[in-house]
């Protein structure tokens, strides 16, 4: 019995710095994350297409939301033009595939890179202006790009939109929800690992430093202009990847989808999820995607008693999102990620509050 006791651990013991810089704070958290990915790997075999569709939406919006969180949550800037980058990624990937014949497999990262280049250019004002002025500058880029989408026939197909071929590897087409789910899952895992890694290495710290105290960041050798613009570039890369996944999922990209409304929804996702939290981006996206569905289900339940509600469903969906953002700003400004931390702490510390 004594031997069993001697093997028992009463806590986490880290004996080198590598163990202290892992993505997941404890082996348990790591196992839970791995298990949930495994669960998602088998999920398409038993989940119905409705849920798979929601999962795919959460995936591609989540990647773009992570990008927005890098610029808004981590670097402390504001961007009202994220939907335009998302759209640019979708068009770029479709365009590359249609005109050059490069397989979609390569077009998605290439579209991300093209969007990043665009983001670096559009981000140039960010090197000089801040706050409200930057918000207006990004708003301008949103409208300029929207206009570009509807006029650049060669690139976007103009008012007709662009066809996007399905994702395929060696002739195997990921042309239904069950198959495409894996593509999105792959990208979500990769992009969120990239994001996490970025934020625990040099440039990620520099972003947060610029956000928290730019004067002392400069003294620490951080080139403010460079990092402010770079954060726009990186955020656009994520938006581009998300957009490309969106385009190849729907098979058709049209300019109407990428309006200021979507930009604001992205902002809502990162605010609800938690500014400055990688996982929060995914949580916020899930919340924003699922909330209208929940509303629909709720209205469906009581609908036959109150037909007026059914007619108002579209408004109820929009209003619930607005209401959620307001409630979060008041009661949980740090977002779902913070709430999740609190819940974990509660279980750990129960019955004490600290």
């Amino acid at each position: 019995m004594a031997s069993a006791h001697s093997r028992m651990k009463c806590g986490e013991f880290r004996t080198n710095y590598q163990q202290d810089t892992t993505i997941f704070p404890t082996p348990l958290a790591r196992r839970v994350a791995v298990l949930s990915v495994i669960f998602l790997l088998v999920a398409p075999s038993f989940l119905n297409p409705y849920f798979l569709n929601l999962g795919i939406q959460i995936g591609y919006y989540g990647i773009a939301a992570l990008g927005l969180n890098i610029v808004v949550g981590f670097t402390g800037q504001i961007s009202l033009g994220h939907a335009a980058f998302f759209g640019f990624g979708a068009f770029a990937s479709a365009w590359l595939n249609n005109t050059t014949g490069i397989p979609v497999f390569f077009c998605i990262p290439l579209a991300g890179t093209m969007t990043m280049a665009l983001g670096l250019i559009v981000g140039i004002p960010a090197g000089r202006i801040k706050g409200l002025y930057l918000a207006i500058a990004t708003l301008a880029s949103q409208y300029i790009l929207e206009d570009f989408f509807s006029r650049a026939d060669w690139f976007t197909g103009g008012a007709y939109g662009a066809m996007a071929n399905p994702f395929s590897i060696f002739g195997f087409e990921f042309n239904n929800d069950q198959r495409y789910f894996y593509v999105v899952l792959f990208y979500v895992v990769i992009m969120f690992l990239f994001g996490t890694n970025l934020l625990r290495s040099r440039d990620g710290r520099a972003f947060v430093a610029v956000r928290d105290h730019y004067l002392s960041a400069e003294i620490m050798g951080i080139n403010l202009t460079k990092y402010r613009i770079l954060s726009f570039g990186i955020s656009s890369f994520y938006a581009g990847i998300g957009g490309a996944l969106f385009g190849h999922y729907l098979g058709f990209v049209s300019a109407e989808g990428f309006t200021i409304m979507l930009s604001i929804q992205f902002l809502g996702m990162v605010i609800i999820g938690g500014l400055g939290s990688v996982m929060g981006s995914l949580m916020g996206t899930a919340f924003m995607v699922l909330l209208p569905e929940l509303m629909e289900a709720g209205v469906g339940l009581v609908g036959h008693n109150a037909p007026g509600l059914t007619h108002a469903l579209a408004y109820i969906k929009e209003m619930s999102i607005g209401l959620a953002i307001i409630l979060f700003l008041i009661f949980e400004p740090d977002g779902l990620a913070h709430r999740w931390k609190m819940i974990k702490a509660y279980w750990k510390l129960y019955p004490f509050s600290y």
Binding site: D20, F194, R202
Partner: protein, 272 residues
Amino acid sequence: MTEMPPLLNVSDISLSFGGVHALTDVSFDVRPGEIFSIIGPNGAGKTSMLNCISGRYQPNKGSITFKQKEMIGLRPNDRCNLGIGRTFQNLALFSHMTVLDNIMVGRHHLLKNNFLSGSLYWLGGARKEELTHRAEVEDIIDFLEIAHIRKSIAGTLSYGLRKRVELARAVALRPDLILLDEPMAGMNLEEKEDMARYIIDLNEEWGMTVVMIEHDMGVVMDISHRVMVLDFGRKIAGGLPDEVMANPQVRKAYLGEDDEPAPEPQPEGEVA
């Protein structure tokens, strides 16, 4: 002491904001390996002087050379590569980061990984580099005795600890010249004693030259090798601590004209 070229040479620096002359023709040398203190009443231009050295302000006139290299016109973020680090008078930590990350930001200019290799982390050697620097940062954490708070969020710490973290972050830059803006302001006696010891250790063991602004005359006189006094943006005295203390002009401007050297009476209403 043999004549070594000064580490930092400031000559005829003038700085004005509109009609306000913050600094007028200030010149001084800082020799390698010394603790050099700048004292003076509030608004005398001490912090402005530090800001000129660290690049926050561009002086209107004059020259600043560090290691015989002209500093005027050099961007603030390039100066840490040459070996200048500083702390701030008002806390300037990255308040939502952990203490460890704060100090790791100090390694920014020594680290090579970028957003690409950083995102790949395991593949591009970024992890190895981060861990190597982490070990060096841990030395600093050890030295400044902040190991118990290394995972705390900087904004939640007490004032004295934050000051210490800020010092740690500046030390992490591995500067040859470290500029300390009131490192002991607002501290209790014990914290002041600790801080004085750290400054002496940095100077003697880590070989850093220290330029310090401080109001606590006791500390200044005890640990400085040389002192400069500013008043209304002008240098009114400079030299060994005892000489400066004995200077009648200094007594008038700063220390008050009492017979005994009062520790810290600060004249009011002298905002230049």
